[in-house]
Symmetry: C2
Subunit: 394 residues, 2 copies
């Protein structure tokens, strides 16, 4: 079958099957997307069983936990067919295109081949919103910085500072776009600006979730990219979040958990990274803080590397060059408070920005931003002309 | 030579040689204390070289760093002889006895045989002030809880709580009696009361150092014991502190570093414990806290086990029984604030105590103690009769 047919078959699968539909993933991997789709349309459970063999996994998201392989296949065929009856692939693609959403499949030059390490669990395709190339050319590595939604100010500061340090060294920062640690990681990377930050979402890219992060996600979309294996119109659900975590783990060479409670979802991302033989690292915190209990557990029980900041993480990236990109501006930063530094970091090296845009990136009020810009201008670090803010040097 | 002669020879060595005098330790180990003393009195450097062989270590505390073995022996013989001329062993022992200071040597039933693991570095003898038996019979294990003098309130709380939890499980808590983490560890163990806490000091036991901890050290002396390899009249010096650390590491089955800066003396105790193949553990803290940097370094670079509290430490003690001693009173403690719990913990299970004594142990003002006792009495946890305070139950 042609590459175009394979592409359409994969897109159809992403419209028909849950990300966590292990039977669909198995069928696609065993037969190829197109042949698997024919099976979905026409085969009987008996024929499917013959083609796929007896070890049919359950789908925790959808099946009733049937233990009999043939029964599981009947359930799978049933759920696929009911969806196939209603799915209109060309219409879906047209709507996605109107929303600026691209689709990538294996073989596309922009396909992040790191996802192939997931093997049978690799997504059928990837929906992309934004200009950034998800295979991240020109970056010196990629790190997932993840953690609890219920984060502490301490955790958010560490996540932001670590991500800014990594991005300033040309490392792409990947996270889940959620509240708390994820948002702090994206903001830190946006502030440093030197490398892309990607948000991998659990739902469709036509509705940015969580709503409270809409402006942050829009900024990531405008400057870099949002990714999802779920087609537009898909609501994020618990199972889709858990399935999404494997993509974050696969896209990154190192997964850093900054804060996680004893049973945080971030631990599942660490587990997936472990499964992929990726390096897992965790940031310690006060033993009195429940938000750090999961990190301490990872270090104590699951061999995660203890990291205290961006430099520790860089040591875990064989490819990374600790000195690249650090350079000039860093020196003058020592003049300013950490808060003002964040603002200065958020001013692009070569282009102009605005106070409002900085407010989104740094997550401060425009008034606070103006005050910081005043101090920065006083020390000759930025030039302000009307609404336009530029770096005075570089 | 008789056991009594060996005892006197060892005591003489502790009066003549620095704890860190590696040549003295070597001679004693190679020839026995008595014969080594004869060598110190009469041998020429040439004869000594013949008896001890060519690998004569330097003494960082005293020698000029002579690299030639014969020269080192000349220096050693010179420093020993000048001291031997002035030392009056019977007078020293009589004075120690007046101060209530005992001397223990290997072979004594109370000698802590754990020190023998130090081999050539084992102390000549041990000076003991207090009733506690340094070989800690009846305890379920021993843990060294050490850390920076420049500690944070966080570190002191963790050290105190961890030590109280360990002592309440019958684990002896060993530390150095210094300001900061050491003091918090001793206080926590005293508060739990169920197991001894020993302070190993770097100077002579006739002058309790640091002065600011005098009342705490007196309490440890009265309830348990103070130990030192240095005879009465010895001032604590940097080298004696470093030498002392090996005793703490050897006496404990596990060494826990609660807080340590990047170059803290507590790291040397961890190193000694490592050398002895003892388990080293460290407590994490905020990565933003310099007081935790050494602990993070131990975990990240030197394989220390991350521990978050007493239960984690208990898991590192094969002999320990996590449930023993916990029991009854614990339940009612949930009624009270942590501060009040510390006070209740400090009230002996079966005997009476006083407000002033509690003030020392818990390190609060008598006024704070009275307020806490009022609340505890209100809930029927303690009975107060005049100055006498008792547990209402048990």
């Amino acid at each position: 079958m042609s590459a175009e047919e394979d592409r359409l078959a994969r897109i159809t699968w992403s419209l028909v099957a849950e990300p966590s539909d292990a039977v669909a993933l198995l069928a696609r991997t065993a037969l190829g997307a197109g042949a698997a789709l024919e099976l979905a349309r026409e085969a009987s459970a008996a024929e499917a069983l013959q083609l796929l063999g007896g070890s049919i996994p359950g789908d925790p998201a959808t099946d009733g936990g049937a233990s009999d392989p043939r029964r599981r296949l009947e359930q799978a065929l049933a759920r696929w067919r009911s969806r196939l009856r209603h799915v209109d692939v060309p219409a879906q693609l047209a709507r996605a295109e109107r929303d600026g959403i691209r689709v990538l499949v294996p073989g596309d030059p922009q396909w992040p081949t790191a996802l192939d390490d997931l093997e049978v669990a690799a997504p059928h395709c990837l929906w992309v919103l934004g200009d950034e190339d998800p295979c991240l050319p020109g970056t010196q590595g990629s790190v997932a910085v993840v953690g609890s939604r219920a984060s502490s100010p301490y955790g958010e500061d560490v996540a932001g500072g670590m991500s800014a340090a990594l991005a300033s060294r040309g490392i792409a920062v990947i996270s889940g776009g959620a509240y708390g640690i994820d948002a702090a990681a994206h903001r830190g990377a946006l502030a440093a600006g030197a490398a892309p930050t990607l948000a991998v979402l659990a739902g469709g890219l036509d509705a940015l979730y969580p709503r409270g992060n809409a402006r942050l996600l829009e900024t990531i979309r405008d400057r870099h990219a949002l990714l999802s294996e779920a087609p537009p119109g898909t609501a994020p659900t618990r199972w889709r979040f858990l399935a999404r975590n494997r993509l974050i783990a696969a896209l990154a060479q190192v997964t850093v958990v900054v804060e996680a409670s004893w049973r945080s979802g971030a631990l599942s991302t660490a587990r997936r990274a472990d499964d992929l033989s990726r390096t897992v690292a965790a940031v310690p915190g006060p033993v009195t803080s429940a938000a750090s209990a999961g990190c301490h557990r990872l270090i104590r029980e699951r061999g995660a590397v203890l990291v205290t900041g961006g430099d520790d993480v860089l040591e875990l990236l064989p490819g990374a060059d600790p000195v690249a990109e650090a350079a000039g501006p860093q020196d003058e930063l020592d003049l300013f408070s950490p808060a003002d530094r964040r603002v200065l970091d958020a001013v692009p090296p070569r282009s102009a920005t605005t106070c409002d845009r900085l407010a989104v990136i740094v997550d401060r009020t425009p008034e606070e931003i103006r005050a910081a810009l005043g101090r920065l201008e006083l020390f000759g670090a930025v030039r302000i002309a009307g609404e336009q803010v530029r770096r005075a040097r570089g």
